[in-house]
């Protein structure tokens, strides 16, 4: 049988981002897959040499919009480790809350795209409709829907009042109810199972040896999640990872669906246990040529932004219009990081790792970002051979590819 090399991507209806695969097919069966990257490489790691380490927080957030909060969290934890900054406990809980909300909106985005990949467009719209409510929470509490910019070195730049926490909990109750209504369709529908079960199987051994992370690893039977390391407030919340065992596209879908519901529980638990106190540490290492970084915000603009769309769908009470306590928006960190650190957090797509090296100046000497999709591409190359050409879009999407992250 003659072999044909077929280009898949970088522009493809099922791919929101430019991943290019050269698929060698034989009688509609994929026999080899080779990746081509570099379409959106931005060299963000190199920017650390010309930007202040505080400015880098905003830059790493732009590695990926969908998990911006977790990039900033991972970076800030690394700087804090180098500089020996003790983050207030309340800030750790707030980081956990916003981080898990990011996981929810990322998984809902993926669940919608996944449904769209096998032609289930109404399901796609239902998941995205629920996601809007999570985006509303982001906007009401952070001022932005996607790149929320709440993390700063030393803590967070915003606080949540009791009324806001109550409002968030109301929104979560409605969202969870709406997601549970979609559970039967996404996990038990004949079409979904036909397109996902047994497709793109990654065995337990392959997943580990090929370096898979996140739902790909857990969908193949490994109970490993960077949240178990106890970063932010996870050390006090008793976290257990979600695991599925079949290793196919359906298992990865089930992991993400169950993780969405788990994140609701984590947010509720974090709100319930969140202690009072400061939201950011003030650090002064004694250097005299740096001006403190002061971050301020305007709560009024946030509410105005929230209310500007008259067609905004609100089925529960609107966010409470409250003034944030004085000082909650200000964070001052002064100093020059000198040393090395490696930090890890669990992004929606899997484990994210930062290597940071400071040389005693206000710039970082090296910032290295290992994103989850970068780790999941080798397992993808192992999963594709043997599958039917028609299943390639579903299998590729099942790893939740983020090429923006991968190429940085």
């Amino acid at each position: 049988m003659a072999r044909t090399i077929l280009p898949f991507g970088p522009q493809h209806p099922v791919l929101p981002e430019p991943l290019h695969l050269k698929l060698t097919i034989e009688n509609e069966i994929v026999v080899e897959a080779l990746p081509t990257l570099g379409y959106v490489h931005r060299g963000l790691e190199k920017l650390c040499e010309v930007r202040d380490f505080n400015q880098m927080v905003q830059i790493v957030e732009r590695v990926c919009g969908i998990c911006s909060c977790l990039h900033a969290l991972c970076y800030c934890e690394g700087i804090e480790e180098i500089m020996g900054i003790e983050v207030p406990r309340r800030a750790k809980y707030l980081r956990t809350i916003w981080g898990e909300l990011h996981r929810v909106h990322s998984h809902l985005l993926w669940l919608g795209l996944f449904a769209d990949a096998f032609g289930f467009e109404s399901l796609f719209m239902q998941f995205w409709r629920v996601r809007e409510r999570i985006m509303d929470i982001m906007e009401a509490t952070c001022g932005n829907r996607v790149v929320v910019s709440v993390n700063v070195v030393g803590g967070v730049r915003r606080d949540l009042s009791p009324e806001q926490c109550q409002w968030i909990e109301q929104q979560l109750i409605i969202s969870e109810k709406e997601i549970r209504q979609l559970q039967t369709t996404i996990l038990n529908d004949y079409t979904v199972k036909k397109r996902c079960c047994g497709k793109g199987v990654l065995t337990k051994e392959q997943a580990y040896q090929l370096g898979a992370v996140g739902p790909m690893l857990r969908g193949s039977g490994w109970a490993q999640d960077a949240r178990q390391t106890g970063y932010a407030a996870f050390g006090e919340l008793g976290f257990e990872p979600i695991v599925e065992y079949d290793g196919d596209s359906y298992a990865r879908c089930a992991v993400r669906f169950r993780e969405t519901l788990q994140s609701f529980d984590i947010v509720r638990l974090a709100i319930a246990r969140m202690p009072a106190g400061e939201t950011a540490a003030t650090v002064d290492s004694g250097s005299d040529d740096d001006t403190p970084t002061t971050i301020t915000g305007n709560r009024g603009n946030i509410i105005q932004s929230y209310n500007r769309d008259k067609h905004h769908h609100i089925t529960a009470a609107p966010p409470p219009n409250l003034d944030i306590p004085a000082g909650a928006l200000a964070a001052k960190v002064k100093g020059k990081p000198d040393g090395e650190a490696v930090t890890r957090v669990e992004q929606p797509r899997g484990e994210l790792m930062y290597y940071l090296k400071g040389d005693g100046s206000k710039h970082m000497d090296r910032v290295r970002i290992r994103t989850p999709t970068f780790a999941n591409i080798p397992p993808l190359l192992a999963m594709l051979p043997g599958c039917e050409l028609a299943d390639v879009p579903v299998i590729v999407l099942s790893i939740d590819p983020c090429i923006s992250c991968t190429e940085r």
């Binding site: 190199k46 480790e81 370096g211 960077a226 090395e340 490696v342 790792m353 000497d365 090296r366």
Partner: protein, 121 residues
Amino acid sequence: MLETIPLPLDEVVAVAKEHFDGGWRLVTMTAVDTGEAGFEIFYHYDKDLVMKHYRLSIPKETVVPSISPVYFAALLVENEIRDQFGICFSDIVLDFGGALYLEAEVRAMPFCKVSVAQKQS
């Protein structure tokens, strides 16, 4: 602060094999340009959420043995390091020849503090 284990050049593959057999996962590799001293390459391994970091210090223009025959996942990292820093790896299982991100005719290494000429492995 980061604790690292010094790694001699001739033990790179043996250490990788030892970790692979011991059930360690390769998290990633990190290259750092240390100026005139050359490069440092970190090998980050993980087992049960415990990480080990090996530090390989090499002069510029050193060819590093690839660990991709042991850890297939290393192929992307090694190709990326070659693109960004011009460090060549011998025996990569899938060698993009310095063109994973860059065009083939590019010779300046974008992540180096001082550009070095790329050598063929």
